[in-house]
Symmetry: C2
């Protein structure tokens, strides 16, 4: 587990992390199956192109299942596969951290309000 080559964490992270990817997984884990349009509505800043790309990749990886009714207009929904459900514990754990940090007033690229204590470099005397 000490060499990147043999550590299974790296390939996993490459596929489930990244802009939007983990958030999509969290939404599916937390809310259950969602239609394409519902996912778009839950992520106002994402474009259809990127959402499609992320869902296709997750599908290829066996993490998300796509279900379509070939009607017009089409109705397509997405849910976690049985394997995808393996991620739920970790996602809920991350969510707990998110809530905690939110309460603490954590801000992106500014850190925590108590930053004076934790943010600065430590410089050890020579």
């Amino acid at each position: 587990m000490n060499e990147a080559n043999s550590c299974p964490m790296d390939p996993l992270l490459q596929r489930i992390t990244g802009r939007w990817t983990t958030y999509i997984l969290w939404l599916l884990a937390n809310e259950g199956p969602l239609r394409f349009g519902a996912l778009m509505a839950l992520m106002p800043k994402i474009s259809a192109k990127v959402l499609t790309d992320r869902l296709r990749t997750l599908e290829r990886n066996g993490i998300v299942l796509r279900t379509q009714k070939p009607t017009i207009p089409p109705e397509v929904s997405y849910e976690l596969t049985p394997h995808g459900h393996d991620l739920e514990t970790a996602l809920h754990s991350l969510h707990r951290v998110a809530l905690k940090w939110h309460e603490l007033g954590w801000v992106e690229d500014e850190g925590f309000p108590d930053a004076a204590v934790t943010l600065k470099d430590k410089v050890l005397a020579d």
Copy 2:
């Protein structure tokens, strides 16, 4: 928590996920403080430029602490801040999934060997 605006998951994920970022956090969580060179050795494919960038961002966000001895040659090491330690439970949970999927033979962009069951689109009759 249903609107992306108000959901604290999105800002958290934006800062701790992404190529290499989560893996760096996992290494620091799992192995303790590590020097720059040790991190490079554990990630043969990362470049110094990218590693520096990821560490700087994590530092700005109060998740990683940088400690330097101003000697020559310099000695710099990185560790999780107290807040950074909040992520340990989630990271270990992800690691458990990584081990399980690895055992199941999961392959990036090919999914699981039992893909026939989970990978294909479901098409519901009209």
